[in-house]
């Protein structure tokens, strides 16, 4: 593919890839790939500039991890993640696939349900369970989130330290490893679980999405069930930065690839799981959540749309491109850093995830 951006869209009925040059003014749609299969997440490996991964979770024949080595032109079915013989868990589906640190170019991570982390050391073709996390002494405190199962859905690799990896589970909270995944500790200080009798438990928080900054080391951001938080790995607790948002609920959130103090979230009404009045908007902070600003130029006025936890992503260009996909099947994109949006794909199946490849 020529230099530019690809938006990888996972839907309830297959995947689509939208490709554009760096101008990001005209998008060419490919797909559906894996037609009919729910695709929970796709990712691009910026380390090799070629690999793409897709978490396909078909009802018939079970889940599959698909791997491409040519930027999505052709795909190969990898071995499934598998729990060891006799283990209490049986692999049900993949929620998230995350390329590892730049200094470990063959490592890829997968988060699955029932909640578990798997590691590949051959760029996604085979997987080993990370039992130090899966069988963590606190794992009996993980409970099914809104999707009806425990799931490890977020994997955030610290850009500054290949041994520092954070993960998040619904509803089990966040965990941090500082030795490359050999050991883990709960990493929820300062976050709340208002649905529990003790609203500040050690584990059990309902993290909806957690990311690390792709370039600046130590910077993490999470969209939690009821709040949003920033944390630098050196900090003792998460900083609650909910104030200023129109609701305390949402699924989608991400951090700006150029500035770790800038983040984007799409708040939803908690009861309806839809954008609140006056309709869909991306809320942006440029000061690490001290203030939030509604951005909606170009978005449909009054539309109460729904965006899921993997539903927003940025590219790595400057100005940054911001993209989100709705359950009603549209992809909206901004090529000017969020000043304005336009629809870049329409009438797709319900969108489960949006991720990007910036191809240099």
């Amino acid at each position: 593919m020529k230099r530019g951006v690809a938006i990888m869209v996972g839907t309830k009925k297959g995947a689509y890839v939208l490709r554009s040059s760096k101008t990001r003014t005209r998008w060419v749609q490919e797909g559906p790939l894996f037609a009919g299969e729910p695709v929970f997440h796709m990712s691009f490996d910026h380390r090799d500039g070629e690999s793409m991964f897709a978490a396909c979770n078909n009802t018939w024949g079970g889940p599959k991890v698909q791997v491409s080595r040519d930027q999505g032109k052709t795909w190969t079915v990898a071995s499934n993640p598998a729990y060891p013989e006799g283990h209490r868990n049986t692999f049900r589906r993949t929620w998230h696939i995350e390329p590892g640190h730049a200094k470990t170019p063959n490592v890829v991570w997968a988060g699955v349900a029932p909640a578990g982390l798997f590691k590949s050391t051959d760029r996604g073709m085979t997987w080993e369970p990370v039992l130090s996390l899966i069988d963590h002494p606190t794992s009996d405190q993980w409970s099914p989130g809104g999707a009806g199962e425990t799931a490890l859905h977020s994997i955030a690799v610290d850009a500054g330290d290949p041994k520092r990896i954070a993960i998040a589970i619904s509803a089990g909270g966040a965990y941090l490893s500082e030795d490359g995944g050999k050991s883990w500790r709960p990493w929820n200080e300062g976050t709340r679980a208002e649905f529990q009798p003790n609203p500040e438990p050690e584990v059990g928080q309902c993290v909806h999405h957690m990311v690390s900054h792709p370039e600046k080391g130590g910077e993490f951001f999470q969209r939690n069930h009821h709040r949003v938080y920033f944390r630098n790995a050196e900090q003792k607790h998460w900083e609650d930065r909910q104030e200023g948002l129109p609701t305390n609920f949402g699924f989608a959130g991400t951090i700006d690839p150029h500035d770790p103090d800038t983040a984007y979230v799409i708040p939803l009404d908690e009861r309806l799981r839809l954008a609140p009045t006056p309709g869909i908007a991306v809320w942006r902070t440029n000061d690490r959540g001290k203030t939030w600003k509604r951005t909606d130029r170009g978005l449909p006025k009054g539309a109460q749309l729904e965006v899921m936890r993997e539903g927003i992503a940025t590219d790595r260009l400057d100005p940054v491109g911001i993209y989100f996909g709705t359950v009603s099947g549209d992809v909206w994109g901004s090529a000017d850093g969020g000043k304005s949006y336009e629809r870049v794909a329409a009438y797709l199946p319900p969108i489960l995830s949006v991720s990007t490849a910036t191809i240099e």
């Binding site: 078909n58 024949g61 079970g62 049986t90 692999f91």
Partner: protein, 86 residues
């Protein structure tokens, strides 16, 4: 063995001739012939996947003897995706 729907796609064919005395054996012979079937038929613990219906001739093997259901020469094993939805 006759494979329908998604299972035909996984195997790359709709019909397989296998020699077996039970349904379980027939499945193993089919997987040997079409390795791509393995993860599509069974989970990592060897259990049959949930949305797969297997019939020995006209009977669902759940109502017979499961994978131990005996086969005779000429019997037909059907692999059929379970119907889901409305």
């Amino acid at each position: 063995m006759l494979l329908r729907g998604a299972y035909r796609d996984f195997a790359g064919r709709s019909r397989l001739n296998v020699e077996a005395t039970t349904v379980g054996e027939a499945l193993e012979r089919a997987i040997e012939a079409c390795p791509a079937l393995r993860e599509r038929v069974r989970d990592e613990h060897g259990r049959l996947r949930e949305h797969l219906n297997i019939f020995a001739n006209d009977e669902d093997i759940r109502r017979l003897n499961g994978e131990r259901t005996a086969l005779r020469e000429g019997d037909i094993v059907h692999l059929i995706p379970a119907i889901s939805g409305g």
